[in-house]
C-alpha cells in the first residue's frame, strides 16, 4: 500500500521516471523563477555565501523574493518571518490536500515531502492521482517530480547568483523579482472580492510606508483581510466575468 515496499531503489520505479518526466518541461519555467530569485538576492546586496545558503536551505521562491529586501534593510526578524508565513499560506492550504495521500507515513517522511512540495508538485500530483487516497507508486511519482523540481530550481538559482555579479546594478534587474511577484499576485486575483482586497493592500502598503521595520506589510495584510472578510459577509459578491 505504501509503494515503498518494492525491492529496487525508488529511482528505478517507473512511477519515479514518470514523475520526473512530467516535471521536466514545467521545470524550465521554475528555472526562470529560480534565476530571478538568485539575481534578486545578489542585487539586494547579499554576499555570495549568504545567497547560496538561502537558496540551498529556504527553497521557496516567492517567500525569498518577498523577504530579500527586508533582510537587506535589517527589518526585525518577526516581520521577516511573518511576511514569509503569509506568502506561504497557500502551501498551508495545499498541505490539507496532501494529507490523505501521505498521512500514513512516519513524521520524518511527511516533513521531507512537505519541504519539497512546491506549487507545481501539487498541481502535477493531483492531476495524476485525482482521488485522495493512498495508491502504490504515489511516493515514487512524488519523489521523481520533487527531485527534478529541486535540481532545476537550485541549478538556475545558483546560476543567477553567479551571473548577477556580471550584470551592472544600474540596469535594475532586481526588479525582475518584483515582476515575478506581480505575476504571482495576478494568479490570485480571481473575483471582485480579491481585486478589492488587492487594491486595499496596495493602498495600505503605500500609505503606511513611512512606518519603521516594513510594518506597512503587516498593516496591508490586516486591512486586506478585514475588507475581504467583510465583503464575504455582505452577501455573495457577484463573480467578475472571466
Amino acid at each position: 500500500m505504501t509503494g515503498m515496499s518494492t525491492p529496487h531503489p525508488i529511482w528505478r520505479d517507473p512511477a519515479f521516471v514518470q514523475g520526473a518526466r512530467d516535471m521536466a518541461q514545467p521545470a524550465l519555467g521554475i528555472g526562470a523563477w529560480g534565476l530571478v530569485t538568485g539575481v534578486a538576492m545578489v542585487k539586494a546586496g547579499f554576499s555570495l555565501p549568504l545567497a547560496v545558503l538561502v537558496s540551498l536551505t529556504v527553497f521557496a521562491g516567492s517567500a525569498q523574493l518577498a523577504t530579500t529586501p527586508l533582510i537587506a534593510a535589517g527589518a526585525p526578524l518577526w516581520v521577516i518571518w511573518a511576511t514569509a508565513t503569509c506568502v506561504n499560506l497557500r502551501f498551508v492550504i495545499f498541505s490539507a490536500g496532501w494529507r490523505p495521500y501521505f498521512e500514513h507515513l512516519p513524521l520524518g517522511r511527511r516533513l521531507g515531502i512537505g519541504y519539497l512540495a512546491g506549487d507545481l508538485n501539487y498541481v502535477l500530483f493531483t492531476r495524476r492521482y485525482p482521488s485522495p487516497r493512498p495508491e502504490p507508486g504515489q511516493q515514487a511519482y512524488f519523489w521523481g517530480g520533487a527531485v527534478t523540481n529541486w535540481v532545476a530550481w537550485q541549478a538556475f538559482s545558483l546560476a543567477g547568483i553567479a551571473l548577477a555579479a556580471q550584470i551592472p546594478t544600474a540596469w535594475g534587474l532586481g526588479f525582475a523579482g518584483t515582476l515575478a511577484l506581480l505575476g504571482l499576485a495576478g494568479s490570485l486575483l480571481v473575483d471582485r472580492a480579491t481585486w478589492v482586497a488587492g487594491g486595499v493592500a496596495a493602498l495600505a502598503a503605500v500609505a503606511a510606508f513611512a512606518l519603521p521595520f516594513r510594518l506597512n506589510i503587516v498593516v496591508a495584510i490586516a486591512a486586506a483581510v478585514a475588507v475581504g472578510v467583510v465583503l464575504d459577509h455582505w452577501g455573495r459578491t457577484p463573480k467578475a466575468p472571466t
Binding site: A32, F59, T83, S95, A96, G114, F175, L179, A205, V225
Partner: protein, 113 residues
C-alpha cells in the same frame, strides 16, 4: 552595502527554512485531523495576495519613500507591460521577460530613471 552571514541573517535563514517546512507540511503534521475554523479559512483566502501586493506596490509607486514624481520611470512602465502580458497570456515567465525587456529598453536606450 553587502549583507553577509551574521547572527541576524543566520537566524533569519533558519526561521525561513523552518517556515518552508512547517507551512508546506502543516496539515500533514498532526496524527489526527485538524478542523480549520471558518474565520481562518476566509483569512487564508486574502492574506497571500495581500502579502504579495504589499511588497510590489511600494516598489512600483514609491521612490525613496515619496510617490513617483515623473512619468519617465522605467519600473513603472515595466510593471504596466508585465501586467498587460499577464492579463493577455496568464504566464508568470512571460510577465518577467516582457517587463524586464521594457525596463532595460527604457533605462538603457531612453535613459529613464
Amino acid at each position: 552595502m553587502t549583507t553577509g552571514i551574521t547572527l541576524y541573517t543566520l537566524a533569519a535563514v533558519v526561521g525561513l527554512t523552518a517556515i518552508s517546512v512547517v507551512t508546506r507540511a502543516f496539515f500533514m503534521l498532526p496524527r489526527r485531523p485538524l478542523p480549520i475554523p471558518a474565520w481562518l479559512r476566509e483569512a487564508l483566502r486574502y492574506a497571500p495576495l495581500a502579502a504579495l501586493v504589499a511588497v510590489v506596490a511600494p516598489d512600483v509607486l514609491l521612490r525613496d519613500g515619496a510617490l513617483l514624481a515623473t512619468w519617465r520611470d522605467a519600473a513603472l512602465w515595466a510593471t504596466v507591460a508585465g501586467a498587460a502580458w499577464y492579463v493577455w497570456r496568464r504566464t508568470i515567465l512571460g510577465t518577467i521577460v516582457c517587463g524586464t525587456a521594457v525596463l532595460l529598453t527604457l533605462r538603457l536606450v531612453l535613459h529613464f530613471q
